[in-house]
Amino acid sequence: MACQSQHHWNRRTLLTAAAATSMSWLTPLATKLVRAQELAPDSQAPAKSVILLWMQGGPSQRDTFDPQPQASEKYSGGVKSIATSAKDVRIAETLPLMAQQMHHLSLVRSVVSREGDHARGVYNVKTGFRPDPTLVHPSIGAVMCHQLTDDLEIPRHISMLTTNNPARGGYLGDSFDAFQVGDPQQRVPDVIARVDVDRDEKRRADLFGVVEQEFARGRLRNLDEKKTLHQLSMKRAVRMMASSQLKAFSLMDVSQTKKDRFGDTSFGRACLAATQLIQVGVRCVEITLGGWDSHINNTSTQASRSKIMDAAMSSMLAELSETGLLESTIVVWGGEFGRTPWLNSTSGRDHWPHGFTIALGGGGIQGGRVVGETNPEPKEDMQDRTADVVDAHEVEDIHATVFKALGIDYEQEMMTPVGRPMVVAQGNAIQELF
């Protein structure tokens, strides 16, 4: 794992040193380190990594982490709740394994947004901003990679099993886009050269030694460094192809027992691989589980998804906890919105951004806590649908919370390519989670 020198320092050391030299030498990095320590929760080093479990389609809060069994059938969907390892926290009976891990996880049951369309909702929850036609905002992983330096041979930002709308670098540049991979059963795409080693090396030698030299003639000085970054990214790609860290994507050396525990599903395998990726120093892993868009037959659809999610997520939390990685890794679970508190005429639940659940824990965020609550039986014709959501939190508050745990100053402004200052996160960190 790459040495992350900022962890050898703490705020006091820096301030002492700064005082000795009258503070004037503070470089942007030093300032960032000081700020990181200030922003991080007391007595805890900032988190280093994030795993985002992305429930594509919009999971139903009533069928997962916010069941309302006391409500009538139309609202509860007949879903019962069970006790968990966290005191007074009950979740849906379809998540028995997660129930044993809830002391690691807190629930924000009062998330609200104004985006009820899939594409817009995904954008909103993944970036913390509403879609803006003049700008693409970066996702959490992209901001992390932009703010924190590493020397990793494989990409620091990874998206697994994502077919649509993977996490993007946005205005930070597509070099911060998530590197996309599929089921860990398959090889990482395009990392094996198509010819033998000698030919491969000869090809690149011809490229760098002859063709690139010719192209650079008569153009900008330091063309590659200053403008094209072509050879630079190619060299990084070649380094990745030869890296032993690639093994972190593979489950070849993992025991069958462990694989079984995560579930024999692509999502389960991805969760298992994510623990390995975090171990080698990857900053952010996004894993997608689709199929939550239950406009018809909600209960059975949600139950089938929950079964996959239950095994994988609970095992991942257990694994991270056992290896000690959970202390430095934030796990976030959620989708683009929730689902209506009531069943529709086809026993489905429709899109509902007016009070849904996002779960998060690890990396300094306390487990076993619940923030906010929703009305078990809200009126369907309410004008203001968020009026009876207790302690409502906008999506951007989740982002602010995650950045706070990471020690990233979320109030700082980054500059877009057209010179437009843009705050990292618009919201406020949820204090009850620290």
């Binding site: 693409v136 153009r219 970054l229 072509h230 990214s233 990745m240």
Partner: protein, 611 residues
């Protein structure tokens, strides 16, 4: 089926063209589906439960069958690549018209003056081959084929000795514009501006149909102002009246079957006026980034400006009959207010222009495309410039100050555009004839970013993903991949390009943002199937294999490979280097070496950048 009414009007358009005939046929089938479904729903209550269960599948099956039929018709008749002969260019004069050359000279002078004022040296003219590559990438999204290089490149001067380099390039641009690939490629660029890249609402939006329609309009070189009026104000069904997809693309699950007014207003201001009014949706412009001052009258941009502009779309409604206009009013609660205000439509500047009677959308369309509204012409010119160079004249492409200052050329080009019937092909001919398009991207002096910024050298611009994919596809074939090659080859090519672009990273609507190369892109280029399948010498149809067979000698093979991939001949150093690699090798070893050369050139910076 038609006896009861919905779609039984006799078609009077069929005699005009195949496209319109297909439109009509689609409309009839569409109407038949709706009619059948309405009948079925209407009679639902009369059926027994058993009959209901039995009947339940009928509409679904019927709709599926009709969709398959529609798909077949669309792909066979509407596939735009089928129509449009590439030989039309031959009938055109070799030289551009005198008035075109006059505008070109005037714009050249403006640039020349700006360089002189900034005390900047300028690059010498680029080679014919370099400009051919730029033009092909700009208008077809691919590199020239070896066949095209032979026909239009410097070799043609050996046959027609009096033809100048500029003549060769003028003829090549005319050829490119006459080819259907121009309309197909450029229409996708415009489609991204008009409707974005999302698949959009399922039932009421047909992006592919919209893009095909747009391609048809560009191919017949329809007036751009007329085309834009259609987008803003058309009524009808998204399948048979594809322009309305501009409106239906904005419908979301939450908008209750009506278009999203703020989204439409924002898109309209960016696409047609080169203004980013979007920020005004929620508040006044406190930072002074939007300037609505006009004719010397300073004015701040207010939240009301945005919503009054959006109110022009308030009457657009969606029903089974398609997009229509009703009498709905628009109300909105402004920041700081407690109650909704009823909002009347009002344009954000030049409100003295007369608005015609009729629908609100019709009024907006007329105002936007009025000749006096120069923002419209400037925006179109800046967009076309960006498509051609890969970089707009004013950056960002959709943020042009209303009252300037304007860069060299913009005003002259905008005036010529509006004075000549908003003729896109004429505009393209002018821009591609300018010195700044035909200047070299390298120089003997020390090139700085200031030179690039002032267009004193041709700017280096990263190719868009589909240009990279199109380039690789064409590179693999000696012959031009155009309407003359088999349908299956073109279809396969399109499919492969789509999947390549998805992996490479689609730029979406932000096509002209400079983006850094990614590891994913380099891995895909080095080791991906798309490149491998097109460079391997074991595939007889691939250029690498063809060249190994047809080249007269090693030098010829290397030169052909360079022409195919980089549209240039190798330098002395390069030729010497690769000749050594081929020296004294057996025929069996020769093919892999040429395959390696293909790989090397395709993976170069030069291949992935416009220069």
């Amino acid at each position: 089926m038609y006896k009861n009414g919905v779609g039984c009007l006799p078609c009077r358009f069929c005699k005009y063209s195949k496209e319109l005939m297909t439109d009509c046929l689609e409309k009839q089938i569409y109407n038949a589906i709706i009619h059948y479904t309405i009948n079925l729903v209407g009679n639902w209550h009369k059926l027994t439960y058993k009959e209901t269960v039995k009947m339940k599948w009928r509409p679904i099956i019927s709709v599926l069958i009709c969709l398959v039929v529609l798909g077949g018709i669309s792909s066979s008749l509407l596939s735009t690549s089928q129509i449009g002969s590439s030989s039309a260019w031959r009938k055109r004069p070799l030289h551009p018209a005198a008035d075109i050359l006059k505008v070109v000279a005037a714009v050249n002078r403006e640039f020349s003056d700006s360089w002189k004022n900034a005390d900047l040296e300028t690059a010498t003219p680029a080679s014919v081959l370099a400009v051919m590559r730029r033009a092909s990438l700009a208008l077809h999204g691919t590199v020239p084929s070896l066949e095209e290089i032979r026909e239009f490149g410097p070799a043609a001067q050996m046959v027609e000795t009096t033809v100048s380099e500029n003549d060769l390039l003028d003829r090549y641009v005319q050829y490119l514009l006459a080819d259907r690939r121009y309309a197909d490629y450029v229409s996708e660029r415009f489609a991204r501006v008009f409707v974005g890249v999302d698949t959009g609402p399922f039932l009421v939006y047909r992006r592919r149909r919209f893009q095909l329609w747009l391609s048809d309009q560009l191919f017949i070189n329809r007036r751009y102002d007329s085309l834009c009026r259609d987008l803003i104000s058309s009524t009808g069904v998204w399948v048979s009246d594809p322009a309305v997809n501009f409106v239906t693309a904005t419908i979301t699950d939450d908008s209750q079957g009506r278009p999203d007014l703020p989204k439409l207003a924002g898109r309209t201001s960016r696409a047609f006026l080169g203004m980013r009014l979007d920020c005004l949706q929620c508040h006044d412009d406190a930072l002074g980034t939007i300037d609505l001052s006009f004719d010397g009258m300073p004015r701040e941009a207010l939240q009301t400006d945005f919503h009054q502009f959006a109110a022009f779309y308030s009457q657009a409604s969606i029903s089974l009959g398609g997009v229509q206009d009703d009498f709905r009013h628009y109300s909105y609660t402004y920041l700081g207010d407690e109650e909704d205000s009823l909002i009347s439509p009002k344009v954000p500047f030049q409100s003295d222009l007369t608005l015609p009677a009729g629908s609100r959308r019709g009024q907006l369309a007329t105002w936007i495309t009025a000749r006096q509204n120069r923002a419209f012409s400037r925006t179109a010119v800046n967009r076309v410039w960006a498509i051609i160079f890969g970089k707009p004249l004013v950056y960002p492409v959709d943020d042009i100050p209303l009252m300037g200052p304007f860069p060299p050329g913009l005003e002259l080009l905008a005036t010529d555009f509006s004075d000549h019937d908003y003729d896109l092909k004429r505009l393209i001919q002018i821009i591609t004839r300018l010195d700044v398009f035909r200047i070299s991207s390298r120089a003997t002096f020390d090139v700085t970013s200031q030179h690039e910024h002032a267009w004193a050298v041709f700017p280096l611009v990263r190719l868009r993903p589909e240009q990279v994919a199109g380039g690789i596809g064409q590179t693999a074939r000696v012959r031009t991949i155009n309407a003359d090659v088999s349908y299956s080859v073109r279809q396969q090519q399109q499919q492969d390009i789509l999947s390549f672009v998805k992996r490479y990273g689609d730029t979406g609507e932000d096509e002209f943002e400079d983006r850094g190369g990614t590891i994913t892109q380099r891995l895909l280029m080095m080791n991906g199937n798309f490149v491998k399948d097109r460079t391997r010498s074991s595939e007889d149809l691939n250029t690498a294999a063809r060249i190994a067979t047809i080249a007269e000698d090693d030098e010829d093979a290397i030169e052909m490979t360079y022409l195919c991939v980089l549209t240039r001949l190798p330098s002395e150093t390069e030729l010497h280097h690769f000749l050594l690699a081929l020296k004294d090798v057996s025929p069996d070893q020769r093919e892999p070496i040429l395959e390696d050369l293909f790989w090397t050139l395709i993976n170069s910076t030069e291949f992935s950048w416009n220069h």
